[in-house]
């Protein structure tokens, strides 16, 4: 967690992520319009909205998978336009709705991928992957060498979370993380995630169509409607 602490110390009280007057459209279709949002370091914000409300777009703007047509998005005080996209994405954990585990890599290799891109030595990568698997409730001894196709949906999503946390990124983006799971597994994962968060204190931006999930996981909940945010908590 060394990186994390240093960054927060350096930033002082400045917001971790802030969006001001952000507009984004796919051609004619306006997705987000004059959107303002500020997220403090260590805060967990849940955004609720119907499908098509622009939830995923909002996340993609934060790690520069997309750039806004107007307005500014600051991450750790710097405009995403000025960030090197690769560097920004590596320090932004992302849990995808479809999970997107790499089918040709084992569970351990999936979790250790960003450390590998960052050039960590193999021993450190391995130790980190095992620690994270234990943290998300998949004992490394049992699961590290498995292939993604040998896991259940809930187990895959746990691996997805572990992978997103691998280099201890200051920001964690989650897109409908537990949406596709059955209710028992979902509840279990939610409480598990709250436990993990108490442990790590990441800044989390979570989008979901499920109000229960939003209130369970967010310190603050906002509603995304017609391209703008309205406060709900």
């Amino acid at each position: 967690m060394g990186v994390n602490v240093d960054v927060r110390a350096a930033l002082g009280g400045a917001p971790m992520v802030s969006l001001a007057g952000v507009r984004f459209a796919y051609g004619e279709r306006v997705i987000l319009d004059d959107l303002h949002l500020s997220i403090a370091a260590g805060e967990s914000v849940a955004l609720v909205g119907r499908s098509g409300a622009g939830k995923s777009t909002l996340l993609k703007l934060i790690n520069r998978l997309l750039l806004p047509q107007s307005g500014t998005i600051l991450v750790q005080g710097r405009d995403t336009r000025d960030w090197d996209p690769i560097a920004l994405r590596r320090r932004t954990g992302y849990v995808l709705q479809e999970i997107g585990l790499f089918p040709h890599l084992t569970v351990e290799e999936n979790v250790a991928l960003v450390p590998r891109l960052e050039g960590w030595p193999p021993e450190r990568r391995r130790a980190r992957a095992h620690a994270l698997l234990d943290l998300v409730g998949l004992p490394a001894a049992e699961f590290a060498a498995r292939w993604p196709r040998e896991l259940s949906g809930g187990q895959r999503q746990r691996v997805g979370v572990a992978r997103a946390l691998a280099v201890d990124p200051p920001i964690l983006l989650m897109d409908e993380p537990f949406g596709a799971l059955d209710s028992t597994t979902r509840d279990e994962l939610r409480s598990e995630f709250q436990r993990i968060r108490r442990h790590l204190r990441q800044t989390v931006v979570l989008v979901t169509h499920d109000r229960d999930e939003a209130f369970a996981l967010g310190d603050r909940v906002t509603v995304l409607e017609q391209g703008r945010l309205t406060c709900a908590s």
Partner: protein
């Protein structure tokens, strides 16, 4: 049994052919992969470039293989006889399966997996090497597997242009109408295809960790089965009678006439003869006689020295004959005395031009070299003892580079004024028929090409009357006789056997 026997007696040759076959297929597949993989990646990432790319590869695939070789022959750098052009043709065929399966493998990757890679901060290069290529690898290997199997089949055609390989047996067997020889080439080719399929399917499965695959032996089984069926269909077309003398010839009119001439001469002595005329080029006849598949054919001293024995050219006719006789003798082949005529290259112009400009010798061509267009057959254009040697021997520099075309076409092209000077055969029947004139080789550049019967020594020992009968042909055929016989067949469309019979009746 005959087949096993054939393989046993031709063991070394068979080994060399398999080796050559694999050489052709391996090189062409490696080159095709080197071109096809990047092309497939581009095709998958940029459909706008990819679509025309795939269309081009598809078109290359639809060209019949012999036609493709025909198109490639006259091209500079890649053209010409031999393995290089065969590899180029095989590469063109191998490209489509490799490009298509690479592109398909990349496109079939779950988009969420690619998105995850990008979101995790992979550079495009890392995404390609760490995610896309490993996931597409089984599909890529499947494409390489198909390309290899197609290549093993198509490479048999390469024998047609002298590139060697197992096709040589198939072509030799087809022209000799001997199913054993066809099978001797077809069966190993089918087995190679099966083995290649097995090995590459295994590789493909190994490269797909954590994923199930369907069994995919079908294409190879089909390929192997069709090869076998084709080979078996050839069974029963007939085989040589055991005690007959087998006479062969190359695949042009004069050679067929000379083969028929040997055959009729032997038959007049009461011997049984099997005709295997029209065998293909010098190379195939030479292989056939050395393998004992034919017993006799007519070769030319100059061709024997330069093209078959790969010896320096000898300009003096006697010395050339002696050199050829000695070299063949060491291989158990007897060279009988020359038949008489010299079928050398002839530099030919239109008769009217020769008269109007008073052209008599090749030297005289220098007067017209700035205006005239030369036209040559592939062999003459290509060989060092052809055009390039002629040009330096006579100090000739045609302003227009020579047009290269099929040897059969050059005479018509000359008569039709598309070219003004050609290299032809001194004995061509068309020289007279089209009112053309031959220029004298006053510097004696062209080596002698005297026609000599070549007979297996073992046959001469078993049938002494063969030597006696063929020796009586020595010196009996003049250039005019040969030109007349060629003209009778090529121009007047007379029957070969009747033409030869007439000639033999006249001289004996």
């Amino acid at each position: 049994m005959r087949l096993l026997n054939f393989w046993m007696t031709h063991g070394a040759e068979l080994g060399a052919m398999i080796e050559r076959h694999l050489f052709l297929v391996l090189w062409s597949t490696v080159v095709a992969a080197a071109i096809g993989l990047p092309a497939g990646i581009v095709a998958a990432h940029r459909p706008r470039i990819g679509r025309p790319l795939l269309a081009a590869a598809s078109i290359a695939q639809t060209i019949p293989s012999l036609a493709l070789l025909g198109f490639l022959l006259p091209l500079p750098f890649i053209g010409g006889i031999g393995p290089r052009i065969a590899i180029v043709a095989l590469v063109l065929y191998a490209l489509l399966p490799i490009v298509r399966s690479t592109a398909a493998g990349l496109r079939s990757i779950d988009p969420s997996v690619r998105d995850a890679g990008i979101a995790m901060g992979m550079t495009p290069r890392q995404l390609l090497w760490l995610v896309e290529l490993p996931l597409a690898l089984p599909s890529i290997v499947a494409g390489i597997r198909i390309a290899t199997i197609v290549g093993i089949g198509t490479a048999t055609i390469a024998a047609a242009i002298g590139a060697g390989g197992l096709g040589e047996y198939i072509f030799r067997g087809l022209s000799m109408v001997d199913s054993t020889v066809i099978l001797a080439g077809a069966i190993p080719a089918a087995l190679l295809a099966l083995i290649a399929d097995g090995v590459l399917t295994w590789v493909e499965r190994r490269l797909a960790p954590g994923r199930q695959r369907l069994p995919r032996a079908a294409p190879a089984a089909v390929a192997a089965a069709s090869l076998l069926v084709a080979a078996l269909a050839a069974v029963g077309i007939g085989s040589a009678r055991p005690d007959a003398i087998v006479v062969g010839s190359k695949n042009f009119t004069e050679q067929v006439l000379l083969g028929e001439l040997l055959a009729q001469t032997l038959e007049r002595r009461g011997l049984t003869v099997t005709r295997r005329l029209n065998l293909g080029g010098s190379f195939i006849c030479d292989r056939a006689i050395r393998a004992g598949d034919i017993d006799a054919y007519v070769e030319y001293t100059g061709t024997a020295l330069a093209a078959i024995l790969k010896k320096p050219i000898v300009k003096e006719p006697e010395a050339a004959f002696t050199a050829v006789r000695d070299a063949y003798g060491r291989a158990g082949l007897s060279v009988l005395p020359p038949l008489g005529f010299n079928n050398t290259f002839a530099i030919v112009v239109r008769g009217a031009d020769a008269q109007a400009l008073n052209l008599r010798t090749i030297d005289d061509l220098r007067r017209v070299q700035t205006q005239w267009r030369p036209g040559f057959g592939y062999e003459f254009a290509e060989r060092t003892d052809g055009y390039s040697g002629l040009a330096s021997a006579y100090g000739l520099h045609f302003t227009t580079p020579p047009r290269v075309m099929d040897l059969d076409l050059v005479y018509r092209a000359l008569a039709g004024r598309q070219v003004d000077v050609i290299a032809g055969d001194a004995t061509s029947g068309l020289i007279k028929a089209l009112d053309l004139a031959m220029l004298t080789d006053n510097r004696r550049y062209f080596p002698p090409y005297h026609a000599v019967p070549i007979v297996r020594a073992a046959v001469l020992l078993a049938h002494p009357e063969v030597r006696e009968a063929l020796a009586r042909l020595a010196g009996t055929i003049s250039e005019d006789d040969m030109r007349a016989m060629n003209a009778a067949v090529d121009v007047d469309h007379r029957d070969v056997a009747a033409t030869v019979k007439e000639f033999l009746t006249r001289v004996q």
